[in-house]
Structure formats: C-alpha cells, structure tokens
Symmetry: C2
Subunit: 221 residues, 2 copies
DNA sequence: ATTTAAAGAACGAACATTCGCTTTATATGC
DNA sequence: GCATATAAAGCGAATGTTCGTTCTTTAAAT
C-alpha cells in the first residue's frame, strides 16, 4: 500500500469545521426566519453566510440537513430550559419566565416554530426525533412538578404527568399565537397563562403559610 | 364604434364558477396536506383537480390566492364552531367536543395548521385577517363563557376574557401537538385538557346547587 | 507534494405563470 | 329549425426564471 504517513498537509481541524457549521446555521436561521424553509434558496443562505455554494455543501450535504440541524438545536435548547426549571420554590414564576422566553424568541422577527412543525409532519426522521424530545420534556417537567409538590412549594390535585401535559399545551399555544399575532400582541397572553397556572398550582408559602386567594378578585355575580 | 349590444352569448354562470372554485380548493387542500404549501406545484393541483393550468388560473390568479382562500375558509369554520358553543349547560363537554374535532381534522393525514401560521407570519394581508378572526373568536368565547356563568351553568373566578384566553391557548396547543405527534399520540391530551378545564370552570348542578369547592382541595401544609 | 477548503460557473429539473388556440354553449338572424 | 356569431371555459405547450446540487478549478497550508 502506498504512503499512509507521507507528507500530511493541513490536517482537518474539527474545531474550525464546527465554527463553519455554526456560521452556516446562523445564516440559515436568519434567512429561514425571514422567508421560511422552502422559500429560502441555498444561494440566499450562501450570501448571508458569505460562503460559496461549494463550501456550504461541504458542511451540509443537503438543505434538509440544515433544517434538521436547526430543529434539533431548538429542541435541545428547550430541553435544557425545562431541565433547569422548578428547582426553586416559585414554580409558577419559573414557568412564566419560560413563557416570556418563548415569546421573545419570536419577537420582532418571525419564529421558526410553525415551519418546524410543518416539516416534522412530512419528514419521518424529523418526526421520530420530535416525538422523542417531546416525551423527554414532558417526563422531565412532570418530575420537576412532582418534586416541587413533595417539597411543599406548590400544591395541585392533578397527576404530575397530567399537570405537565396541561402546561405544555398552554406553552405551545403561546408559541403559536406569538407566531401568528406577533410578540407584541401575544404578550398579554402570558398573564392569562399565569392566571391559569395559579388555578392549577396553588402556590404555598415557603414555610407552609398558605396565601389567601390565589386568583383575581371577584366580579359581581 | 362597432356593436355593443350585438348577439350576447353564453352568460357567465356564477354557480358553476363557484363549483369550480370548490373543486380546485379541494384538490389544493389534498395536495397541500400531503406536501405543504411551497412544495406543492401548481401542476400537482391541476392534476388532482383534473383541470388544466390555464383553466385553474381563470379562477385563482395566483397560488397565494388559493392559500389565502383555504386559510379564510378554515377560520370561518372555526368561528362557526365557537359561535355554537356553550349554549347548553355542559360548557366543559362542549369545549372537549371542540378539542376532539380539532384533533380529528389532523387525523391520519397532516393538518394545514402549521403551514397556515407560517404563512400568516410572512404575508401581511393574511396576517391582518388572522388577527381579526382571532379577536372575534376570543370575544365570542368570552361572551359565551360569561353567559354560561350568568345562567349558573358554570362558575369560575377568572375574567371571562382571561378564561377565554386560557381555553384558546390550550386548544391551539392541542392543534400543534396533533400536527407534530399525529392524532393518535395527541388524543390523550384531550383528557389533560378536560382536567384543566375542570379546575378552571367548576361545573354546577343545573338548578343552582353549587359543588363544594371551586378550586382544588388543599394538600397537607 | 499533497491534501483540505473554498470558490463559482454550470447542470438539468422544476417552478409559477402566460398565451394563443380550441372547444362548448348559447343567443340571435333568418 | 338551422346556421352563425360570440364569448366563456378550457387546454397544454412554451416561457424565462430559479432551484438544489455537482463539478472543475484555484488557493492555502503543511
């Protein structure tokens, strides 16, 4: 066999490759936000990334792979957020922060949430990953809620799993409306979200002293 | 100037035109469900509708108009559903029926919900219509809930408007997850939805006999 | 000298839309 | 009634563009 250890020029640097991938992903995210997955051309992404088509295709073999990478990144980020939640006593507050965060991700510019879901519906490998991530998030949130209940930070009558389901339902709804209405118009919905949370999760005083009434004052009957 | 009132032949029949529009819309919906708005070609829609491109363009001047018509139709349908709700005593039941209905619309095949939202984000005229329809639905639901409360069918501590916001949040979440997970996997979420509703809206006995506690009973403190 | 990285022109396929033509149905003149 | 003029309805190939991707070439670094 001819030379395996001949001259060796310019070893492939994985850290530089990772940097390029990030640069491409950032450019793609920016373009996709502006025009959506299928209305954005590869040339647009190339221009935004200041890279040629040939170079880009060295890092992502197809457009679908860019989309998949963006979706994956999004889900991993969400998992991290959910993992960090509800360690403190103020579970409701933490969930509202999460809601605000979700809202701001769609702020000003368009979010990719709708595009990602649309893609998940039609791409089987994306679908599998989505289902897995979703199950993980729900399980994690249920555990956190159960833990918070055990520590006496919060009281609720639902199963932790069901409670997690409800919370996720509302958060997803928030994301959709933020996408459809824009962040500004969707912001008041966070207060609706909070109000619902306070009905579902009765907050308790850190030392067991209960609050008077978890909800708004009554209107006339 | 030659004949203005010469012979007059074959008057344009608006009912036939409407029939053709429907045929085209049905074909487009079918295609769009399968492949999404921007991955479906006009030729595909023509084939599905068994119509030539030239004929199709007589009824819809552009692809975007087909999309807009489908979205509009969807929203009008939703408004009708919300208008009919909560006339009876079982508000929660009616809302769950609505949830089931939303779920089944995505059953088996993909829904267009995500595609529509993605389009709304980037098309200004669509966005205006969406905001209007959304506001209308929310107002209507709030009125229905207030009415049900006045009649003693249900009791809740939230503002009717806030309550409506929460319900819509959850319903939207349901639609998204039905789209992402498929109808089968999303079905259990309807029970979560119902459980949440029962915490927010305490059902009352038809003759005004109130149930014991509008909110959750307390756990240990 | 050799290999990686980048470039960017080139590729065929597919796209939304248009256009000139044909068919079809009807209202009129005889 | 029949022929005919008229316009709506429909057709489908053609249009020019744009697409995602590939390929050949060049630059840089070891």
């Amino acid at each position: 066999m001819e030379g395996a250890d001949q001259t060796m020029a310019r070893s492939a640097d994985p850290v530089l490759a990772q940097r390029r991938r990030r640069q491409i992903l950032d450019a793609a995210i920016s373009c996709f936000r502006r025009r959506g997955f299928h209305q954005t051309s590869m040339q647009e992404i190339c221009a935004e990334a200041q890279l040629s088509a040939g170079a880009l295709y060295r890092y992502f073999p197809a457009k679908a792979d860019i989309i998949a990478a963006i979706a994956e990144e999004d889900w991993v980020g969400k998992e991290a957020l959910f993992n960090a939640i509800a360690r403190g006593p103020d579970v409701i507050g933490a969930l509202c922060v999460l809601a605000e965060h979700a809202l701001e991700q769609c702020g000003g510019e368009s979010s990719l949430a709708a595009d990602v879901i649309a893609e998940v519906m039609r791409d089987q490998s994306l679908s599998l990953r989505f289902v897995a991530h979703d199950a993980h998030v729900r399980r994690r949130l249920a555990l956190s809620l159960a833990s918070a209940q055990r520590r006496g930070h919060v009281a609720f009558t639902l199963t932790p799993d069901r409670a997690a389901g409800v919370v996720i339902l509302m958060l997803d709804g928030l994301v959709v409306r933020a996408a459809g209405l824009g962040a500004a118009r969707a912001r008041p919905l966070v207060e609706d979200f909070r109000a619902a949370l306070e009905l579902i999760f009765t907050p308790l005083r850190p030392h067991g002293l209960r609050t008077a009434h978890p909800v708004t004052q009554e209107t006339d009957a």
